[in-house]
Amino acid sequence: MQKTTRQLGEQENKNEALDRLQAGTTLQERYLVLGMLGSGGMSSVYKGRDLHFPNVTKLVAIKEMVNLIADQSMYDMVVKNFEREADLLAALSHPAIPTIYDNFTHKNRSYLVMEFIDGDDLEAILDEIDGFIPEERVVTWAIEICDVLSYLHNHKPQPIIFRDIKPSNVMVDHHNHVRLIDFGIARHFQPGEKGTMIGTEGYSPPEQYRGEASPAGDIYALGATMHHLLTRRDPRLEPPFSFTERPIRDINPTVSPELENVINSALAYDPKERFPSAALMKEALISTAKRTGLLSRPSVAAVIAQSDKIEEIWKFECEDEVRGSPLVDNGTVYIGCYDNNIYALDAKTGDFQWKYATEGGIAGKPAVEDGIVFIGSEDNRLYALTANRGGLVWTYYAEGSFHSSPTLADGHVFIGSDDHRLHVVNQATGRRAWRVEANAPIWSTPLVNEERVYFGCESGDFYCYDFKAELKWRKKAKRGVTSSPLLIEDMIYFGSRDWTLYALEAENGYQIWRFRMGGATISTPAFFDGMLYIGCGDNNIYALDARHAREIWRYEADHQVTGSPTVHEGSVYIGSVDGSLYCIDHKTGRLRWRYHTEGPITGTPAVVGNTVYIGSTDHRIYAVLA
């Protein structure tokens, strides 16, 4: 079977150009052809003059259909369809439906003479205007279209389904009133009947492709038409039925949320979820126009719990800001603080177990293995402490502060320092195994996998070294890489202050994709169920499809999101400089709850069981119910 696309199909139609009536031709010795108005398929529409009114210029529109069909029964059917359209139109009386004057057939051509409408169709209007059509105009037109649809749908003995609402079939006359033209495929509606499938792809409803035509289909097409008018995005150039993937207000923010809701209801895939009648859609539009918003409240109200409803399990007061991230291990929370201490607290009760005073602030997240806790401090030292009592096992000196967090692998601690070096220290002895130089301070936390270590630095360089301290590859971002790498299925992901989230193939560092955000990021991405999550300085939390960097959703916080997300059982937990800890549905991006602290949150939450742990610059460490 021949494969086609719509555009190619249309081109073929154009090639079969028909003999056109020349201006000056007279039909039935009565209608003088003045010129062509348009053509499509087998029919053309001409502007004409009725010569029976010699003293005035009475203009008419003449629709001509040329029957080129060879098969006699098909030929007869086409003529019958045309006559049916004429009968149908002649029986209608509505201000938005052109009056029919005459019809006749001559040889293989059939003609319909009707009221000439002086105006432009909506497609022409859209073409003339550069910007967006104002919402009020679109609503006014839509209300009138609802009116005429309501008239057609309530037609007796049988409802009439227009079946082809689209901008080019809606004329606006000089009094700014709407007229429906081209009833070519309108037909008597018989419930349950399966008909031939005709319709303009792009505006027609999904069920029309199963041969079903119903009033709900006209409502969908009206919604599609309004969507096109308000967004200027032609649905014929987009995947079919993808309106909901192009939210109106994303493209044209001047549109009110109320109107967007009305249109979305009209565009529901399931006909049962649309307005049950054109009259009800009209009502919704009118109330939108009045800005009462009565009928247009979001149907699915976001359930936003207030912070006082979020159950706080405990909180712990420190003597300075908590910027680091908690580690929960074996019933104990370990967390560093800018009061120079690393604290060990009971995870259930928040009871103090021990603290160890370093000589500088602690920015990183501790690591623990075999009963030893490791943490770096701004006092240039890396500490190894006993997990049960906080006793010092060893210290290791660098020539700069530690802001990076320790990573444990193969019996060694991997940690970056402000001295531009990545240090690799034996976990048992505290002696250096090896180190490598970077171009700038390393705040990023190294990632170790299969005898390779990956880390970024503040110059924007990102390195991959093997365990022989040999550089495997290097990638340069345009600004610092404070964000720590994430390795999923042989791909490395990290953010940069150059506003970009990078995806590199882990083996050789080839860049597979990059995603541009609205600001710098120092947040470390998290992965769950094929999606990547990251916070950004533009106040947003982004969720992307990891395979092709497509944004799935974004959630806007009240301030920068410098913290990193943690995903746990379908929720994304992330802190913001606005002081809140957010819990967001990982699939939809809808807020589940937010919990407010008194200062910016810069760390990464830890979630264990049903509890979220987070530190805040309000000097406190919190445990709240997940």
Binding site: M1, Q2, K3, T4, T5, R6, Q7, L8, G9, Q11, E12, M197, E201, P206, E207, Y209, R210, L237, P239, P240, F241, S242, Y269, W473, K475, E489, D490, M491, Y502, A503, E505, A506, E507, N508, G509, Y510, Q511, I512, W513, R514, D545, R547, H548, A549
Partner: protein, 295 residues
């Protein structure tokens, strides 16, 4: 004693080509030994005009590279299938022009970079390069082949990652351990209706508009390309790229059986073509089959 006509038919006719005898397979096995345990990627390809069509509008391209030594490179591969459409030979020109354009762009932007002595990397991400290559192919078809269009599915292998650029309904699959996973999403009306739950798979397979695409190269100035990256199948497996002359005719489970049972992808590719022709061969058939080692 067969007639002369039958005798010639048995040698040259379609029937003999369609039904691979065991003798024929033995002969091909000699040419294409069992590579189930190969440690390198192995490629097979096949193409046939089919039974019902008079000329071939499909095109395929395979480029692979390997560099071993003290400065080795990751395995590289470019695999492209395009299925042209449009009258007056426009379809075959569109697929040919597109496939050349994509190959030229990827070679310039990626392959040449791999061979630089300074180990520099292309400035743009691979997904962007692939998207640009398909957009360039679109420009070329719009300008040079009026009335022509084509589907195009291009897979770039770079180390352990496979990056795919895709427009139309030429499909890419991973086939492994008795599992067939489709990687691409057809840009066809019926597929869209299926996604929306408006058509069942059975209804879609007989739908009169099942060959209507809503996106193809050569349709207009703006082309939206699907680009995504998949890691290679762990524990080995196959990449199959094929035109609808195969997938629209031969059921998935049969494709899977042929792919898994053949000793060599070249034999599998030929058997897939044969299977489509036995099923009536309503359209051109093009197949690229890549076997990845277990490692």
């Amino acid at each position: 004693m067969p007639s002369l006509k039958e005798y010639f038919a048995s040698i040259f006719g379609r029937k003999s080509a369609q039904k691979p005898s065991y003798a024929a397979r033995d002969q091909r096995t000699w040419l294409y030994p069992d590579v189930h345990n190969a440690t390198q990627m192995v490629v097979g390809t096949g193409q046939s005009v089919g039974i019902e069509r008079s000329h071939n509008e499909d095109a395929l391209l395979v480029l692979t590279g390997q560099l071993a030594g003290s400065q080795p490179l990751p395995d590289f591969g470019l695999f492209v299938v395009a299925d042209g459409m449009g009258g007056h030979r426009a379809g075959e020109v569109a697929s040919a022009v597109s496939i050349r354009t994509v190959a030229r762009m990827i070679t310039q932007d990626t392959v040449i970079h791999l061979l630089n002595n300074d180990h520099s990397m292309p400035e743009s991400p691979l997904q962007d390069l692939l998207r640009e290559a398909l957009e360039e192919a679109n420009r070329a078809v719009v300008e040079e082949v009026p009335g022509g269009g084509t589907t195009l599915t291009a897979a770039v292998l770079l180390g352990p990652q496979l990056t795919i650029g895709h427009v139309g309904d030429t499909r890419a699959y991973y086939i492994r351990d008795g599992k067939t996973e489709i990687l691409t999403r057809d840009h066809s009306l019926v597929e869209r209706l299926k996604e929306l739950g408006q058509l069942t798979a059975e209804e879609a397979s007989v739908h009169p508009q099942r060959n209507v695409l809503y996106r193809a190269i050569g349709q207009g100035a703006n082309l939206e390309v699907d680009v995504f990256t998949h890691p290679l199948p762990k524990g080995g497996g196959h990449l199959l790229i094929c035109s609808d002359g195969l997938w629209g005719v031969v059921p998935d489970d049969k494709i899977q059986r042929i792919v898994n049972n053949a000793p060599h992808p070249q034999i599998a590719a030929q058997e897939l073509i044969t299977a489509a022709n036995i099923a009536g061969g309503p359209d051109n058939i093009t197949v690229i089959l890549v076997r990845f080692p277990k490692d």
